[in-house]
Symmetry: C2
Subunit: 109 residues, 2 copies
DNA sequence: CCAGAAAACTATGAAATGTCAAGCGCTTTG
DNA sequence: CAAAGCGCTTGACATTTCATAGTTTTCTGG
């Protein structure tokens, strides 16, 4: 924390714990894509939420949005340099998940 | 994903993106503590949510809960081995945050 | 050649999730 | 002997996310 009460670590955690953010970054690490394609890659996010998350990520400089045409709409989302560097975070999560997360006992089975 | 549709990476992300989970783990990396102390260390979490998150983390084997006395209640929460290994994730986030997150322009200023 | 699908979203209302304030039994501290 | 702290729970409220539908335009299949 600096004297203004700002702590980059706390803020980073706040950003990454927002629902879908990590999934979005992970999906975009696989290459740039359009809105619906991204929604499918992420899996189960609804468009309103995705739209809002992307807006925030663009504002923060993690994702870049390129509008190719207005009508019909054609857009491309891709990670910026800052976004690509989140790969280290995703990798750490992946390694941990593979090591410690087993298929959850499904109550229906 | 295995044939049952379980993907440890997707699940790991789902866990870590739950509100407060990363903050809780980070706080506990600094050492074991009691409920209220943890709440203060995390900062701004309300007891209902904290209680629920801890329950989940205990169920998943990330956090361990030890009840020292029943009356007056005295409890200690600490990370398990799995939990401690999340340090790599936190570290990656910290490094990224320090590098890319500037004090956000506060709309009230 | 025309129905249907896909693209990128926005709108709506309802459901899930998180927050707030208060309080409980009980001990230690002032 | 009252106040403060511990570890929570409860119930009302606010915020967030959800599913679903609709918009405009182009591309694809039969």
């Amino acid at each position: 924390m600096d004297e203004s009460g700002f702590c980059p670590i706390y803020e980073a955690i706040n950003l990454l714990q927002e629902k879908w953010v990590l999934h979005i970054v992970r999906a975009l690490l696989g290459g740039e894509m359009g809105f619906n394609q991204l929604a499918r890659a992420v899996g189960g996010v609804n468009p309103a939420t995705l739209s809002q998350r992307l807006e925030r990520l663009v504002a923060l400089g993690v994702v870049e949005k390129e509008v190719l045409q207005v009508m019909p709409p054609r857009t491309r989302y891709r990670l910026t340099r800052a976004g690509r560097e989140l790969e280290t975070v995703i990798e750490a999560i992946e390694a941990w998940g593979k090591k410690y997360l087993k298929p959850a006992p499904d109550p229906r089975t």
